[in-house]
Symmetry: C2
Subunit: 310 residues, 2 copies
């Protein structure tokens, strides 16, 4: 039996037909053209599903279910996207609309939850019962797997791990609170930290990049060329990431923590200092319940594979 996975993003809708070994056997993609009426987006989504089925030589009847990974707050129980700012969606019953068209069960979860689930069925955390995935991107996203299943709590509103405190009343966060982990550990925060260091240290290589051209890679490139200011920014950033991971270790004692998102591609370069910080700051220090901390494996395919596995 096959399953259909849909990765609904702010820019594109990616659809995959996934076999029982969690391999994508057919794949289509269409622009989301967000901020249209949800019905129009979901019609295009359905057309993309149809195209992927055709490509695989299958019908909906060959598939056990359709899963959707969506940004924003998703109520999995009701199958409703409650609020997704970058889609302009509010209370959209996406599951009911897909089931109506294809006649098979539809399931929904937040995209970070789907990515976490995908890693446990086909990625870096296969067989792991309790794990957490953290995405270091525009924001800091989180997916929690407990006992092999997505844990999202009441109204599926939990796992907003980027919105736990690093510094009470600290930097402003997009969520309206101050001092959230996301305000220190996201790629957006790293870009801000890079810009501040460039201003403060005109002698640094960082100052050679115009402020508007700074990306999450700028600081790593400068450090590669021996810039000490850049390396100090990276060191501090790794502490911010690791401090939040230490909280996760103390609160949830997962077997594994995976890092995804753009910054995670720096791999061992950030993972080394992060592991050291966690081992020296978690409860019980080196005798504590230190999880494996590694890079997520599935990248762009995680959304489809996880949605199909819902």
């Amino acid at each position: 039996m096959y399953r259909i996975g849909i990765d609904l993003g702010g820019t594109n809708i990616a659809v995959g037909i996934v076999n029982e070994r969690h391999e994508i056997v057919a794949h289509t993609s269409v622009p989301t053209l967000a901020h249209r009426a949800p019905r129009a987006v979901i019609r295009d989504m359905g057309d993309a599903v149809r195209a992927a089925l055709d490509q695989a030589g299958l019908t909906a009847g060959d598939c056990a279910s359709i899963g959707v990974g969506s940004p924003g707050t998703c109520d999995s129980e009701r199958g409703v996207v409650v609020r997704a700012y970058n889609l302009g969606w509010h209370e959209v019953p996406v599951c009911a609309m897909l089931t109506e068209r294809f006649g098979i069960p539809a399931r929904l979860s937040n995209d970070a939850n789907c990515a976490a689930l995908a890693e446990t069925v086909a990625g870096a955390a296969i067989g792991c019962r309790n794990m957490v995935l953290i995405t270091l991107g525009t924001g800091v996203g989180g997916g929690i797997i407990i006992d092999g299943k997505i844990y999202a709590g009441m109204r599926s509103a939990g796992a907003e791990l980027g919105h736990t405190l690093l510094v009470l009343d600290g930097e402003s966060c997009t969520c309206g609170r101050r001092g959230c982990w996301e305000a220190y550990a996201s790629a957006t925060a790293l870009i801000r930290q890079t810009g501040q260091a460039a201003m403060k240290h005109p002698e640094s290589l960082l100052a050679a990049t115009p402020a508007e051209d700074i990306t999450g890679r700028t600081v790593f490139d400068a450090a590669d060329r021996g810039d000490a200011v850049a390396q100090a920014v990276i060191d501090r950033y790794c502490q911010y990431v690791a401090a939040g991971l230490t909280d996760l270790v103390n609160a949830l004692a997962p077997e594994m923590i995976l890092l995804g998102g753009g910054i995670s591609r720096q791999g061992e370069r950030i993972l080394g200092p992060i592991r050291e910080y966690v081992a020296t700051h978690c409860f019980g220090q080196r005798q504590g319940a230190i999880p494996v901390i590694a890079e997520a494996k599935l990248g762009n395919e995680a959304g489809i594979i996880g949605a199909a596995a819902l």
Copy 2:
């Protein structure tokens, strides 16, 4: 069928025989005399069980299991108290020793986990599937219930919720880290905050209490008598507690959060401002997944009832 619950504390061992309605039908207590050989403590524990059974007119054969709630880090899977500083215990196989004596299965969990479980079976959270109990005492303890069961993670080392950050590199914590929630929201922290306010404001009623006589109640008594400095300490303390609870809401979206421990007896006086802070700071603010926040109900009986329910 009955169950035996043991609340192993640093001062006393309390034993109860618990019926199927989670009522304690017989109760005994003996001094722990901690820092003796664990074997001697567990022999006394066993004698107290025997006395409680006699009191109830039962034998071990009438009981389905023995449960132990212990301070410190407990490995529930192995039935071993891994580390309990206030008992002086290290790697004590308490379950094996109790089963050897009584011939029935023995189970073990951390005392805060037991208290959380007790509230779900017989206290303020009956029927609640996902809840968190926070104890505001000497430290800040945590028990997490997910899907009706204790969640403690790898090697049962999780739920150390007092050791998540409130302020990166802030106040020193007993765990060796800096800035933990416990260092701001425990009774110990409130006593420190009260002492600091007394020093800074000699005109305050707080300054009338010698530093060594300050308890967790001093500041509440002074506020009762109209002292504005005391009220400001309480207001700030409630923010510290509530900021940590907000993190729990964002991370776990529990249906309910219960507060236990000495400070929780202040009831609505602290619960009111705490609820207001959570509702205005959690993800989605008042549209967020705001749990019921209330006082735990079982008090001293929670340990026995929870241990019996393991």
